[in-house]
């Protein structure tokens, strides 16, 4: 089989951040390809996406793409006893909402957000600095001692220090940690908090009937002459020091200078403050499951249809779920978030799922019955928070966020700066594009 001219960048991950990264890199003159899975599983990121940062919008000239994005109205945590915790993009509105819910910690919300916003600036600086840029980069990065302590600290410790209300802590952990598959008691998880409070991290909703973010960005890829490949990775190898080769079996062999996993990995790739380029590919310790429940009749959501909902009773529950996942078990009480699509479907994301399951220390892949088990656990749980949910469910379809090759098919020495994952950030598109820019300029 002949090998074509190598790509500058091969993007794995058929999702908005992957498309945006590919389109922007191609627009700046690089030869870029996006690899679609053979079975073409598009993740359901098209309901609520992180916003498209202004700089990406400008570079791809999206004003003509016919897309309108509405910010989600609120982040809402539901509790079994009926209590609701609502936070908003606006800190002042959040303070008022928490006060109404009789959470005195609400007074601290503004300080909390201000402090984290400052930390986010540090983290952004660090992420620019780490990951190979520093040898040429003259920017001096040296965190102060208290900054360093924050960066290595745990989210649970930080939250405990700030808030007395366990429910508020749980709420924050639900939306800040879940997307990263973190539990909150692991070192470095405090960093995940900060990116959630950056400007472009608030979840956005596409207006009904309009094109999805993924579609718009995919079209931008086509316009920028990004090549689309199809197939499943069988093997990645390194024929030369500056070249990586991806074997897609019957779908051919392709070469690229950099392989960039832009998929929203829920595992190792998302640990904040870990040099992203040093995480070869998603470790798949923890992965995310998405379940779409098609309903026979629309249900009334307790806080409106355009909010993002979170279900977790306590911080301990989140920590336990992650511990279960890390040990290869499906969490007994899985925390999750859900959203309501414009069509009235409910899409659940369960971020604490094992990458591979383990029985008696032997790893195995997810089987149909495991998927069913998870799906029924979530359905049972959700019915306790949404009245009339179970009878309304017509169909449930489950997907696991698995886009990376298995451990054995990777190159042996993982210290490979040419096979890299997207940095962890709640501003997924922005972070993916910035990082792709750097990869291309480095190559």
């Amino acid at each position: 089989m002949s090998i074509s001219k190598p790509f500058d960048l091969l993007v794995l991950g058929e999702n908005p951040s992957g498309f945006a990264a590919a389109a922007c890199a191609a627009k700046s003159g690089a030869r870029v390809a996006v690899l679609r899975g053979a079975h073409g599983h598009m993740m359901a990121e098209d309901i609520f996406a992180s916003g498209i940062p202004n700089f990406v919008w400008r570079r791809l000239d999206l004003q003509g793409a016919g897309i309108t994005l509405q910010p989600a109205s609120a982040r809402i945590s539901l509790f079994e006893d009926g209590e609701i915790i609502k936070t908003f993009e606006d800190t002042i509105a959040t303070k008022a909402s928490l006060k109404k819910a009789n959470i005195t910690d609400g007074e601290l919300w503004q300080d909390f957000v201000s402090e984290l916003t400052e930390h986010a600036k540090h983290l952004a600086q660090i992420n620019m600095y780490l990951g190979g840029g520093h040898t040429k980069n003259s920017a001096v990065f040296s965190p102060s001692l208290s900054e360093l302590r924050f960066l290595v600290s745990t989210c649970a410790g930080f939250l405990n220090d700030y808030f007395e209300s366990d429910r508020l802590r749980t709420h924050v952990a639900s939306f800040a940690l879940a997307p990263f598959g973190l539990g909150g008691d692991e070192p470095g998880s405090a960093g995940a908090l900060s990116s959630v409070f950056t400007a472009d991290a608030w979840p956005m909703r596409v207006s009904k009937g309009g094109p999805s973010v993924a579609n718009v960005l995919e079209r931008a890829c086509v316009d920028a002459r990004v090549t689309f490949l199809k197939g499943d990775i069988k093997r990645i190898s390194a024929p030369t020091a500056k070249m990586r080769e991806v074997d897609l079996g019957v779908d051919g062999v392709w070469r690229a200078r950099v392989i960039y996993n832009a998929s929203r990995g829920a595992g190792g790739a998302s640990r904040a403050f870990i040099p992203p380029s040093l995480l070869p590919l998603d470790r798949r310790d923890v992965t995310e499951a998405q379940i779409r429940f098609t309903l026979s009749q629309p249900l009334e959501a307790p806080g409106g249809e355009d909010a993002v909902y979170f279900v977790a009773e306590s911080l301990d529950e989140i920590i336990t779920a992650r511990a279960d996942a890390l040990q290869g078990r499906i969490p007994v009480v899985p925390p999750f978030s859900f959203e309501i699509t414009p069509g009235g479907d409910i899409v659940v994301r369960a971020p604490y799922c094992p990458g591979s399951l383990r029985d008696d220390d032997v790893a195995r892949e997810w089987a149909q019955q495991d998927r069913q088990k998870l799906s029924s656990r979530i359905m049972k749980r959700l019915s306790r928070y949404l009245d009339g949910f179970t009878p309304a469910v017509k169909r449930a379809s489950i997907r696991l966020n698995k886009t990376t090759p298995d451990r054995d098919t990777r190159p042996l020495h993982s210290l490979d700066q040419r096979i890299v994952s997207a940095p962890a950030s709640a501003d997924r598109i922005g972070a993916a594009v910035r990082f792709a820019d750097r990869l291309v300029s480095r190559a």
Partner: protein, 536 residues
């Protein structure tokens, strides 16, 4: 007038029973760090008083008879990072410091019964592996060489310093990288920030070698191998030097007691006035300057310099008080308590167990390295308050270095079992579970050892804390190295109280006895005193 008087005025309003003046410096706590600080101050000609709450200096490290005829001391049994400057500045050998063994070999045991012996000298690890018939000698040897080199490179960045410019120190990541060879930068980045799991990914395939490294990087640390930043623990441990050998572990004659005794003699030789049974009630701060200390018996000692070797909570909150310390500094005092700890267990054994790998040579360090999954499970259990086996075990035979015990055919085995749940008031049930898990793990190293146990003694952090009065938190598992370093640095440089120097357990980085914090505190006190003299 509202009541607003601070601790100072309170103590002044009540006539002290006795006021002692003319003292240049007071050191609180006769720990290794306290003794080191006092020795330096004494050497520089400061009239120094060392106050120890216990009955005698260094009592915490005294040897005890834990079972009839069997002796053991708490505290560290092996040294890996005794401050070389301290040793040479006082020539501690002159004061009785002597090594029974300068570099112990380590034998690693695995769940499957296999064992690997690594030479005590890191330079000879490759050779010892080839003797063990291991497949991946080259990658392992190369990898460990890189770790050792990086450790040496990072040593100067992760030690304590007293910045004299008064600004908070910074973690000079950029200077680490700019001083490193360019091809090594990515690796150092990984070593600094990565989890042990991340670092080991793809380096070598042999699970035993991976388990070995995971055990070494997690032993006595709160961070599990899958936690970010956890690999640095191993790098740091290998940056230490004892008896001039980087990465080695030595047994001092008499154990920790030997170190304390040598330092005490050094301090006495430098005319330090060591007073036992002198418990400090409060440190007198006038405005934001140290003015002296007040003892529980009411005696006041006026002094411009106080070096405190007690834990941070006693030093800052109990003895100085919230109203005198900086606001943001409070964050430094609060640190989340690690949920895990190590158990120290002494066993009295009938005769020496022998197996193929130790060949009855007991002057070795024995380590049980559980599998990745077992270790992950052990950490999760410990963090949720449960005990699971197998645990990481580090075992030595103190009796192997003490001829008397050998002659009597008696052996004392001392182990650290890790990780167990950290509990300030462990129940009897919990104690039994810990003991059982430890013995089950120990059986994997020495099959049949259970039958030889004549007596045993479980020493949990809570026990030692209860007896010696130290904050038990300081005896829990050690946090991440980066966190320890940042906190230690903040504790020593930003309390905002002039004349106060801290060298308590929180100022130590990594596991083991060092003395560096005491040296740094004393040097800072001497420098400040010099610059003040110049100013006047």
């Amino acid at each position: 007038m509202p009541e607003s008087k601070n601790a100072t005025s309170k103590t002044q309003s009540r006539a002290p029973s006795k006021i002692e003046a003319g003292i240049d410096a007071v050191v609180v706590g006769a720990t290794v760090e306290g003794l080191a600080a006092a020795s330096y101050l004494g050497k520089a000609g400061f009239k120094t008083v060392l106050l120890e709450a216990g009955a005698s200096a260094g009592a915490a490290g005294r040897e005890r008879e834990f079972a009839p005829g069997y002796h053991c001391a708490d505290g560290e049994h092996l040294l890996s990072a005794l401050d070389p400057e301290l040793v040479s500045d006082f020539d501690l050998y002159r004061f009785g410091l002597s090594f029974s063994n300068r570099c112990l070999d380590t034998v690693y045991y695995f769940d499957d019964g296999a064992a690997i012996r690594l030479d005590g000298e890191p330079q000879r690890w490759k050779q010892s592996l080839s003797r063990a018939g291991c497949d991946e000698i080259e990658p392992f040897g190369d990898f460990m060489e890189m770790v050792l080199e990086t450790a040496a490179l990072l040593r100067s960045h992760l030690k304590l310093t007293m910045g004299r410019d008064g600004r908070q120190s910074k973690f000079m990541v950029s200077s680490i990288f700019s001083n490193a060879p360019p091809e090594r930068v990515a690796l150092i980045e990984r070593f600094l920030f990565g989890s042990t799991d991340d670092v080991l990914d793809g380096v070598f395939k042999d699970p035993r070698l991976q388990n070995l490294i995971m055990a070494e990087s997690s032993l006595r640390m709160a961070a599990a191998p899958h936690d970010a930043f956890s690999f640095l623990a191993l790098v740091h441990a290998l940056s230490g030097e004892v008896a001039g050998l980087q990465g080695a572990r030595a047994y001092v004659k008499g154990g920790i007691v030997g170190v304390v005794d040598a330092l005490r003699r050094a301090a006495q030789a430098k005319k330090v006035d060591i007073r036992a049974a002198a418990s400090v009630k409060s440190v007198i701060v006038e405005w934001d300057r140290i003015a002296g200390v007040e003892l529980v018996d009411g005696t006041q000692i006026r002094t411009p310099i106080v070096v405190n070797a007690l834990d941070a909570r006693s030093a800052f909150v109990n003895q100085i008080g919230f109203e005198k310390i900086n606001l943001e500094f409070q964050h430094v005092l609060d640190a989340p308590t690690p949920k895990t700890a190590s158990a120290r267990i002494h066993f009295a054994l009938r005769g020496a167990p022998a197996d193929q790998s130790t060949k009855a040579n007991l002057s070795r360090r024995l380590v049980l390295a559980p599998s990745r999954t077992a270790l992950r499970h052990a950490y999760h259990s410990a963090r949720s308050g449960k005990v699971s086996a197998p645990l990481i075990i580090e075992a030595v035979f103190p009796s192997a270095f003490d001829e008397k015990a050998m002659a009597a055919k008696k052996q004392v085995l001392s182990i650290f079992a890790h990780p167990i749940p950290y509990d300030e008031n462990p129940s009897e049930n919990m104690r039994a579970e810990i003991m059982e898990a430890a013995i089950r793990s120990l059986e994997l190293i020495m099959p049949g050892v259970t039958d030889r146990i004549e007596a045993s003694e479980l020493r949990l952090p809570a026990d030692i804390a209860h007896e010696s009065g130290v904050d038990p938190v300081t005896l829990a598992a050690r946090p991440l190295i980066l966190e320890q370093w940042a906190r230690a640095q903040l504790l020593i440089e930003s309390s905002g109280i002039e004349g106060f120097y801290f060298c308590g357990p929180e100022a130590q980085i990594g596991v083991g006895v060092s003395g560096a914090a005491g040296r740094v505190a004393a040097k800072a006190a001497m420098d400040d005193s010099k610059s003040r003299a110049r100013f006047l």
